[in-house]
Symmetry: D2
Subunit: 172 residues, 4 copies
Amino acid sequence: MNQPTAQESGAHDGIRIITTGGTIDKIYFDARSQFEVGDPVIGHVLEEALVKHPWTVQELMQKDSLEIDDADRLRIREAVQSAPEKRILITHGTDTMAKTAEAIAETGDRTVVLTGSLSPARFRSSDAIFNIGAAFAATQCLPAGTWLFMNGQVFKAGDVKKNLDSNCFEAL
Amino acid sequence: MNQPTAQESGAHDGIRIITTGGTIDKIYFDARSQFEVGDPVIGHVLEEALVKHPWTVQELMQKDSLEIDDADRLRIREAVQSAPEKRILITHGTDTMAKTAEAIAETGDRTVVLTGSLSPARFRSSDAIFNIGAAFAATQCLPAGTWLFMNGQVFKAGDVKKNLDSNCFEAL
Amino acid sequence: MNQPTAQESGAHDGIRIITTGGTIDKIYFDARSQFEVGDPVIGHVLEEALVKHPWTVQELMQKDSLEIDDADRLRIREAVQSAPEKRILITHGTDTMAKTAEAIAETGDRTVVLTGSLSPARFRSSDAIFNIGAAFAATQCLPAGTWLFMNGQVFKAGDVKKNLDSNCFEAL
Amino acid sequence: MNQPTAQESGAHDGIRIITTGGTIDKIYFDARSQFEVGDPVIGHVLEEALVKHPWTVQELMQKDSLEIDDADRLRIREAVQSAPEKRILITHGTDTMAKTAEAIAETGDRTVVLTGSLSPARFRSSDAIFNIGAAFAATQCLPAGTWLFMNGQVFKAGDVKKNLDSNCFEAL
């Protein structure tokens, strides 16, 4: 699951999308009366949005962000560093998104944008599609470095936290 | 309809949104069996997306973009030039979006991003929410100048057209 | 388009769905800046609703109901009378739905329910899915005869009209 | 929460809706990374469906159906028996819906229809709206007794179970 397919690997000018799980991909399993991280939705979102800019999805892990540990962050960093593309979008759970952003702040000449959502993309009303659109554009517009987009705002890695009381991202 | 309200006018650090109509705002009037440009959807989209970054909506006109003429483009340019904000998002019909972008290419030190959608925001499946998210982020990320976002791609004003055969935007 | 396929024809105990067009199936064609009656949505709606009861779709015509004339009503009546199933759901535009219901009021021992919607099923907010669910249940519950379901209410054919001022169906 | 308001109580000819919780009303609380039964959605669904037939909502409890016990079933039965309306729709979780239906099979001259959904109504794709439409029509069409609508089918109380392997309702 964690290696891009041959079919995908030609798009060096495009945007690499690395998915790690989080609320954005949550789906409901009635049989277990439980919500779990499901397959990434971002491919469907990009098709629905009629995106013609080249992109490729690399499914790296399917975790709640509270379960993402330092070993996982190392894997994310390696996936970024070994990507043939210069522009990378990462979908990630919100609880530790700011921490992962900081852990991968050194990107060389790559532009990396993390995003996710506070409610699942499969909901009728969600911040997911807006955030994916925002991050997809931001990877094309921002200089090299690691960035985060949530609550309608672009943040620099290391300068953002999730405020647990307001359930919103804000600058430090 | 075309003047920002007093309540809105303080947000100089925020993003001014100028709405001009287009498919993105189309609504169905069963009584007339007709689709027409309705009230702007962008405010609802930003609320659903849990946007905390300040923004204000200025409803300038409600037109199909085929009906937008040079006098309208002058009004749009004046609205841009008289805006207190440096960052401006314009929603616009797709047929003449590239033409309007070119007509307002001189923005001084403002960053202006035009977007719209190929199907109405009120549809269950549409490029509208993705495009609004993208444009909202792009206004924060791009340098001064006029830009256009459609089909997943950031274009420079003057370097983009809508290909009527493929129904997609592409670089000149 | 107007003949059921062989694959479909075994389901005599199931519900036959005859589609005639109307707002419920309207789709937006950006290339022509126009809304037109598209392919029937009802199959997708039934799949999304996890329907296990057998059904088959017969696409009879794709018309705005204002364009449906007496020859069309004859075709609809013939489709009803030649159906192997006893339970029939018809999707139809709203403007002349009451007239068509009356024209096919004689059904022998068949239960026929007409429905449609005041806004397209492809909209995020629409009466379409609710109405299809209602009509699908009503075909199973009602005695022989022709019925109409709109605005949350079951009406008998001949005892209903669309009030053009309120844009609602009401009993005569 | 469990008493109808004075404003509601006049609609004796209408449909009483008793909500008990279940997947249909589940909402996501990001702050707790958890899905829980939220406020009933059915009022919004009926408004979106442009329902003109009178109805009133009585919020009786907000429970996963696995948590509904015999005391709860007694409360549901009492709510049915004390309702001024003859036609009653109950929304209920799916896991014990068949059991509750059986427990309230004696309704005197009332028509009672239970429904729910296998995925939350707040999802973009769900069986919820279809099922609500179906149950709303079925209460108008069926004779006195207790019924259940799921998976596109009307079942008689006592003659239906949820098949846990296929995750579908089927006749006994």
